[in-house]
């Protein structure tokens, strides 16, 4: 078993933070890239110790190279395997973990090595607690990750690896996801949930958003059950990264908070002091939204 860590990357999201996490084992990790030349370069820029690179053939998803990825990881026998929660990266991680006989933990936020014991800290219950797991064996961790700028000290150049014969996979088509009505690009977003009682009250949300120069979004039940909007913010919906997210009448289920993970400042208004949204928020107000919103409009005009 080698002391170093390996990172499996199929897209750029959170890559710098994964390389940082892997470096906790003492040296920059090897990044196994299954993706474009640009992604391989991003791994170099993220500070990878080495970059093993497989470029998928056109029309072939990264998962088709599972066998090649498993073979590369098995030969190296790393102590720690990291990936983001992206579907393809996770698939490769799971296959490599099975080959290594590694434990699999998720929502990892920090890794430490003390002597021969690896400690992985993981968010639990949507982030209400952190659980530390220790192991003297190999561990594969699906990481939470965060946005971070590249360190500025680039690592080694990508080394093309044996891709082998791709598995029986193919991409039939790729279409742009329905536009988020400017939500994904907006600097400010007002999101609302089931705390808004009737559809007519959406006017209040829209008025507030206008005063803040913000876009309007909602939670899954508002779009799916009430059909008030066609799109929602959340794990299976839109992921947004505004400077400011104002959550109005939103409880804050993990499904929703996953979609606002990259928001910089989150302010939340909810009548339930125990609402999980307050754990994700920067500012919190426990109050009836119908009392606070008119006051907010007034304050914004001052």
């Amino acid at each position: 078993m080698s002391a170093a860590a390996w990172v499996i990357a199929t897209d750029e999201k959170y890559l710098v933070s994964l390389v940082e996490a892997g470096a906790a084992l003492g040296s920059p990790p090897t990044v196994l890239v299954v993706g474009s030349p640009e992604l391989a370069q991003a791994a170099v820029d993220a500070g990878a110790g080495q970059v093993a690179w497989i470029e998928p053939a056109a029309g072939t998803p990264a998962e088709a190279y599972t066998a090649a990825a498993v073979s590369l990881v098995s030969q190296a026998g790393p102590r720690l395997l990291l990936s983001s929660s992206a579907a393809a990266a996770r698939t490769l991680l799971g296959a490599a973990a099975a080959a290594l006989g590694a434990a699999v933990v998720t929502a990892a936020i920090k890794v430490e090595l003390g002597g021969d014991t690896l400690v992985v800290h993981c968010n639990r219950l949507g982030g209400s607690v952190v659980e530390a797991f220790e192991s003297t064996g190999p561990v594969a961790a699906v990481c939470q990750g965060y946005d971070a700028p590249p360190p500025g000290t680039a690592g080694a150049s990508p080394e093309p690896a044996q891709a082998g014969e791709p598995g029986a996979f193919g991409i039939v088509e790729e279409q742009p996801a329905p536009g988020g009505g400017g939500l994904t690009e907006a600097e400010r977003v007002v999101g609302f949930g089931r705390g808004v009682k009737v559809r007519a009250d959406m006017a209040l949300i829209e008025e507030l958003a206008q005063a803040m120069d913000a876009a309007v979004g909602c939670t899954m039940p508002v779009a799916d059950d009430y059909k008030w909007m066609s799109q929602y913010i959340g794990r299976s919906g839109l992921s947004i990264a505004p400077k400011l997210y104002l959550a109005v009448g939103i409880q804050g289920s993990p499904q929703h908070t996953e979609g606002i993970r990259d928001a910089k400042v989150v302010a939340a208004i909810n009548s339930d002091p125990e609402a999980p949204i307050f754990r994700r928020a920067t500012y919190g107000i426990v109050a009836d939204l119908y009392e606070v919103l008119p006051e907010l409009l007034t304050a914004l005009k001052n």
Partner: protein, 242 residues
């Protein structure tokens, strides 16, 4: 096509109580349907049309839940414990899938809280996987699924046998009624023990316990509605986000 649908294999997160110092009291939390499980059944049913749909649950998961939703044959592993090591959970599932035998597809929830399980399950079965799909169809041995990858909607195929993990895009449209649940309770469930499966549920990690996160939530603004509104606007302006 023979399809195995996995459901009710994780503890109810709603039953967890976080005590002072971050200790989690799980009480006697049961294995409940995860947020994605109803969508798992939908996809599994579509794939199994003209074939066989087998349901599989772990621990004290209630098989009637799936039997009322179109599952024809139900298996459970009643002595399967809840495990933090996703690979150990997946090992129980993989052994059960092999015990059931002849499966072409295993469908499982993409599981926000345990996202390593579907990946580890595919790894242990040695099958290809497509994770995070929202719908799927089968034609011969070919499975075609739709999923969201970043800003694109991707339609992708894989040949069976394969593992599909499903991410729900909404809540269950039409839960079964009381009659269907009552009828489901009368249907047989085949119970298989860990010993019969030859699985020793050993975890590759040990918990050092839980603690509260370093940042414990929001700065709470207090006062009259006018006061908190003014304070919030002032704070957001000073942060340069408004």
């Amino acid at each position: 096509m023979k399809v195995v649908a996995l459901y009710k294999w994780a503890r109810d997160p709603e039953a967890a109580n976080v005590r002072a110092g971050g200790v989690v009291d799980w009480g006697n939390a049961k294995m409940v349907a995860g947020d994605d499980d109803h969508a798992v059944l939908e996809v599994a049913k579509a794939l199994a049309e003209g074939g066989e749909l087998v349901g599989l649950t772990l621990g004290d998961g209630d098989a009637a839940w799936a039997l009322a939703r179109g599952v024809e044959v139900a298996y459970s592993v009643p002595d399967a414990p809840f495990l933090a090591d996703n690979a150990a959970t997946a090992a129980i599932m993989a052994a059960a899938v092999k015990h059931i035998g002849g499966a072409d597809v295993v469908v499982v929830g993409d599981a926000e809280q345990h996202p390593g399980v579907p990946a580890a399950l595919a790894g242990l079965l040695g099958w290809p996987a497509l994770l995070g799909v929202t719908s799927a169809t089968a034609e011969g041995e070919r499975l075609t699924a739709v999923r969201r990858v970043g800003d694109t909607i991707q339609t992708v195929w894989v040949d069976a046998p394969a593992v599909l993990s499903v991410a729900a895009t909404g809540e269950e449209a039409k839960p079964p009624g009381m009659m269907q649940m009552l009828q489901a309770r009368k249907k047989p469930v085949t119970q298989v023990s860990l010993a019969e499966l030859g699985v020793d549920p050993k975890e590759g990690v040990a918990s050092r316990g839980t603690r509260l996160p370093d940042v414990t939530g929001a700065k709470m603004l207090e006062g009259s509605p006018a006061q908190v509104a003014a304070d919030l606007v002032a704070a957001l302006r000073s942060d340069g986000v408004l």
